[in-house]
């Protein structure tokens, strides 16, 4: 559908058209002679309002606005992985080739490389009946990921022609499908999907498999499940981005979608560079082979920032539909909320809390609800885990974005300024954080790591709680007056905090720790605690036990025991026993 109208007013990224009746809500439009991408966000009797995804400098009233007849959509197909896009899926590599280091306006490069040939294997034959979501072709998109081309949701029918296996471009027709109304549809390697509509699924499955991250405090104390949602709130400098990077590098999802939403340009170049160098411990291939980046940095147009979150999750859902486990990192959702606020302000809507629009909670809910472990239309299982960073203004967790996010996520990893000041990373505060996934995940932990893992975690948690109470006293009167058993609690809690919870992302062994080692570390720490407790109840002073250096040795065991030499933990157990029995005999 081709229809045109002309610009009436311009105010920042918001453009208005007067007396037009042809545009529909959320329709994608091209604005001005430079054909800037925009989206209709308001339609009324006399005024149509459009948000423009690019700089509006130089636009004049009277320039044309062209409708496309379809909502804001993205192209889904091979070439998404190992690539970097802006907030509306424009390929930044291509744009760099065309316009150099700075992003010029009105770029119209196709999202996916149309000239690249893919080695396609067709998996259907003539006469096959295909339902929505059925896979009709496969191709190796990167060395580790097989891309599966699926019948778009809402379409089904009989295959009337199939091309032979071979090399095809993204837009080449490989299958022709006749639906039950007799209409013939040409299926290529790609499809379009509107970003604000979730891709349909058959149903949701219980979230009972953890997303293994190799980060001790997360895997042990606050695990998130595959298909779960987690929020990482923290003031600036507390390590949100660092935590997101660690998770993106090491979590055991098949596909990573990293959305840099209104954050720093240098951080995105860091991700690009690191992921292109680091190898995935599981596949031995580069991390970039399973990663797609959406980079809409803080100085790029604000409307595209608002869209970037939806673009990211739509790409994620596409890979989920193929049966992959996807993890989506959104850094940061506060910037997205601020983009909402900014546009809402330009529309002169009535503000609710702190100037945010009243629909902020419902938008957040819509976004987080697109996570989940699901049964796909083609009967495969897949999941999307959303890990959203939140940047509370003034580091105050009571502000609207943090509070509303808390309602829709089940994991809360609160980052703490005091911890980050002491360079205790990840600065996840163990008193404020929580995970609601324990009931779903405990059976998995019990099955794969034994019942004791769950027991150990409870004990560790218990000690930390006790320490927190004791520290209140210590802050008032000092630690000297505490009885020996409480001093032991404080001493062992120090081992847990520094030796277990704190993790060094820059240390080759410590950056990723397998679950088995996490369990053994807890076991050794708790063994020392139990043994020392017995000595103290036999009136042996704590100072003597501390003097043995066992506590300090355990603090350093995360560095001293390599991830592949877990048998060394037995030596630690023996050493604890022998050293402590020496104290008794002396």
């Amino acid at each position: 559908m081709d229809y045109k109208d002309t610009i009436y007013g311009i105010n920042g990224p918001v453009v208005t058209i007067k007396n037009s009746r042809s545009f529909s809500m959320m329709e994608m439009v091209f604005v001005g002679t430079e054909r800037l991408v925009g989206e209709v966000i308001g339609v009324s009797d006399d005024m149509t309002t459009i948000q423009v995804y690019e700089e509006t400098t130089g636009l004049r009233p009277g320039e044309p606005v062209c409708g496309t007849g379809s909502p804001m959509n993205v192209t889904l197909g091979p070439g998404i992985l190992d690539n970097i896009f802006d907030g509306i899926e424009r390929p930044l590599k291509e744009i760099a080739k065309q316009s150099g280091s700075f992003i010029a306006r009105g770029s119209n490069s196709p999202a996916l490389d149309e000239k690249r040939e893919w080695d396609v294997t067709l998996t259907v034959k003539q006469g096959d009946c295909l339902k929505s979501g059925a896979i009709y072709a496969e191709l190796p998109e990167t060395p580790v990921i097989r891309h599966k081309c699926m019948v778009p949701p809402g379409l089904s029918g009989t295959v009337i022609s199939v091309k032979p296996n071979g090399k095809y471009h993204v837009n080449d027709t490989v299958v022709e499908l006749k639906d039950n109304l007799g209409k013939v549809h040409e299926l290529s390697l790609c499809q379009k999907w509107p970003i604000r509509t979730p891709r349909p699924v058959v149903g949701y499955l219980p979230p009972n498999i953890p997303l293994i991250t190799g980060q001790r405090i997360i895997d042990t104390l606050f695990p998130v499940s595959k298909g779960g949602t987690a929020a990482i709130p923290g003031g600036f400098g507390t390590g949100k981005t660092m935590t997101q990077h660690q998770l993106a590098k090491w979590c055991d999802a098949d596909i990573i979608i990293y959305v840099g939403c209104g954050e720093r340009g240098n951080e995105m170049s860091q991700v690009l560079q690191e992921f292109a160098e680091l190898t995935d411990p599981k596949t031995g291939r580069l991390l970039m082979d399973r990663t797609a980046l959406i980079a809409n940095t803080s100085n790029m147009p604000v409307a595209a920032r608002e869209a970037s979150i939806y673009t990211g999750i739509t790409l994620g859902e596409y890979y989920r539909d193929m049966g992959y486990h996807v993890a989506l990192m959104a850094d940061s959702t506060s910037r997205w909320a601020e983009a909402l606020r900014e546009i809402s302000g330009r529309l002169e809507e009535m503000p609710a809390e702190e100037g945010f629009p009243a629909y902020l909670p419902s938008r957040l809910a819509e976004f987080y609800e697109r996570a989940g472990m699901v049964k796909n239309l083609n009967d495969t299982d897949g999941s999307i885990t959303i890990i959203g960073a939140v940047s509370p203004q003034g580091s105050d967790f009571s502000e609207p974005v943090t509070q509303n996010t808390k309602r829709f996520t089940r994991c809360f990893w609160a980052l703490d300024k005091a911890l980050s000041y002491a360079r205790h990373y990840p600065a996840i505060n163990w008193m404020q954080s929580y995970s609601e996934y324990f009931p779903d995940l405990d059976p998995w932990y019990a099955k794969h790591l034994g019942d004791d893992f769950v027991q150990y975690r409870k004990k560790i948690n218990n000690i930390l709680q006790q320490e927190n109470k004791l520290m209140e006293i210590v802050k008032l009167i000092g630690s000297d007056v505490l009885p020996d058993d409480q001093k032991l609690t404080i001493e062992i809690a120090r081992v847990i905090r520094v030796g277990f919870l704190q993790q060094n992302a820059f240390h080759a062994e410590d950056t990723y720790v397998p679950l088995e080692k996490q369990k053994l570390m807890m076991k050794v720490i708790l063994h020392l605690y139990q043994s020392a407790k017995q000595l103290i109840s036999a009136s042996i002073p704590i100072s003597g036990i501390v003097k043995t250096g066992l506590f300090d040795k355990l603090v350093k065991m995360k560095y001293d025991i390599p991830n592949n030499k877990l048998e060394m933990f037995d030596d630690y157990m023996k050493e604890i026993d022998s050293t402590l029995s020496n104290i008794v005999s002396a």
Binding site: G237, S269, D552
Partner: protein
């Protein structure tokens, strides 16, 4: 056809409204001629049909509904660019005010710039040796970084910025180093202090200055950093120079933006600042960096004064979310006469982790800085405990921490304004301070590094202690020697590289 629009429809603060405007475009610059012959500049900030809202840079004082003639210039706000910019002084909207005449531009560029493609960025890794122990060791400045100084009125942020500019230049002289200085709403003597200091260091011909002083129009203030950054980008990415941009004071800039926003009748966000303050600040700060295929860089050192020293105020808060770390100054250290009064714990450099260590500074750098942060954080805990139960009641270990804290502030944080310490000096000093703590408390460092650096530092310390037994203060001789500039007499027989040499 050139049209003059006579009169205006409406005047509101710095804004005027024109009706029946033909063929104008958004953000177009206009010239406004008053009946008395003076000319002002303005920019179209909103268009609705043929009605244009224009922001007048010099303010609307003296305008009436009938005494103006407005002419469209046909281009957006542009800055003339040429290599001759170096050494020149401009007003807040980029017009020369040093009496040396107009710039003959090689090219013109829109002051708003265009965003750097994230794909084209080079991840910054080259560290800048500022010669200041706290910054080099604990919050290393990297070329292409944006590292603001969070300060408060009355603290020594200007001195610190000048010292960084002066000392950072030394390693860069060959590759083409220049400073772009943007003053926004600061007092005349502050701007003059910077000019004098650059002149004393002999680098004035490598400085481009933009001055929008406290009594200059606020609308111009919104343009000042944009003009400055356009020049910086030109020098860095077309002439391949290393540019340090000093912008002071960002709080005054944000207040100008607030004033302008409220006169436009926009819905205010937190503390009355417009909802787009984050995006607006980001459009400035994100213009730092390095790009592929160019050897130049733009490093930003914005200075902002936190109202009431409140770091959660929207301006420092949003700034901290955009910039790659921050240097926070502390009033109580300042009160104790410590210079630079850097509050170590809340300060941070995000790009530091990949720019230090083997091949960049020294292999023990990362471990040492982590340990200094951790130990100093412990000092704070001990101090708060001591303030409740008294120093006497502290355990012997805690007392050692108190001692360490005192020395850390007096020897490591404190240094002379003309003192330029090498990275080795700073790192060794750090180890000597840690040597006052028992080895087993250093849990951020592995044994090998401890053997290599902690033990020698401890020996250095104790050998000095033995030779100076009768005077316990003297054990700090080696440290205070490095600290030569603190002590006027010591200065003469010291060989601190750079400190005072160019005076």
């Amino acid at each position: 056809m050139i049209l003059d629009y006579i009169g205006v429809k409406d005047i509101n603060g710095p804004l005027i409204v024109l009706d029946n405007v033909q063929d104008a475009f958004f953000e177009e610059v206009v010239g406004i001629r008053l009946d008395d012959g003076s000319v002002r500049q303005g920019r179209i900030v909103q268009m609705e049909g043929n009605r244009a809202v224009i922001q007048v840079f010099e303010g609307t004082r003296g305008l009436s509904l009938t005494n103006t003639r407005t002419r469209l210039t046909g281009h957006p706000m542009e800055m003339p660019l040429s290599p001759e910019l170096l050494g020149r002084i401009f007003d807040g909207s980029g017009r020369p005010i040093d009496g040396l005449g107009d710039i003959f531009p090689v090219k013109r560029a829109n002051v708003n710039g265009t965003p750097i493609n994230p794909f084209s960025r080079i991840y910054p890794k080259d560290y800048i040796n500022t010669g200041i122990s706290t910054i080099d060791t604990l919050m290393t400045l990297i070329r292409g970084q944006k590292l603001p100084i969070f300060s408060g009125s009355g603290m020594k942020h200007n001195e610190l910025a000048v010292q960084i500019a002066r000392q950072a230049k030394i390693s860069d002289e060959k590759s083409g180093f220049a400073i772009v200085f943007a003053a926004m709403g600061v007092k005349n003597d502050v701007a003059d202090y910077f000019r004098r200091s650059f002149s004393e260091s002999g680098i004035l011909n490598r400085v481009v200055m933009f001055l929008n002083l406290a009594n200059d129009p606020i609308v111009e203030r919104i343009l000042t950093p944009r003009c400055a950054l356009t020049v910086a980008e030109y020098l860095a990415f077309e002439l391949n120079m290393h540019i340090l941009v000093i912008m002071t004071d960002m709080t005054a800039y944000a207040e100008a933006l607030r004033e302008f926003s409220s006169s436009k009748g926009e819905i205010p966000g937190r503390k009355g600042y417009p909802g787009y303050l984050y995006s607006d600040l980001a459009s400035l700060y994100e213009r730092a960096g390095m790009v592929k295929g160019k050897t130049g860089s733009v490093t930003q050192l914005p200075i902002l004064t936190m109202p009431n020293d409140d770091v959660t105020h929207p301006v420092p808060d949003l700034t901290g979310y955009i910039t790659e770390g921050q240097i926070v100054l502390d009033r109580s250290l300042d009160g104790q006469g410590v210079y630079p009064p850097v509050a170590v714990l809340p300060s941070l450099s995000r790009l530091m982790k990949d720019g230090i260590g083997k091949g960049y500074t020294r292999e023990d750098h990362s471990a040492l800085s982590n340990q200094l942060f951790a130990s100093y954080a412990k000092v704070m805990d001990v101090r708060s405990l001591a303030s409740v139960i008294g120093e006497e009641e502290l355990s012997p270990e805690d007392k050692k921490y108190l001692e360490f804290g005192k020395l850390f502030e007096a020897q490591f944080v404190n240094q002379g304004p003309l003192e330029n310490r090498t990275i080795d000096q700073s790192l060794n000093l750090g180890w000597e301070l840690l040597a006052t703590l028992p080895r087993e408390t250093l849990d951020r460092v592995d044994d090998q590094t401890l053997d290599q650096y902690y033990e020698p530092a401890k020996k250095r310390l104790s050998s000095h202690k033995d030779s100076q037994k009768n005077d316990s203060q003297m054990m700090w001789e080696p440290l205070s020697k490095i600290n030569g500039a603190l002590n006027e007499e010591d200065n003469t027989d010291e060989d601190t590289d750079g400190g005072g040499t160019h005076e």
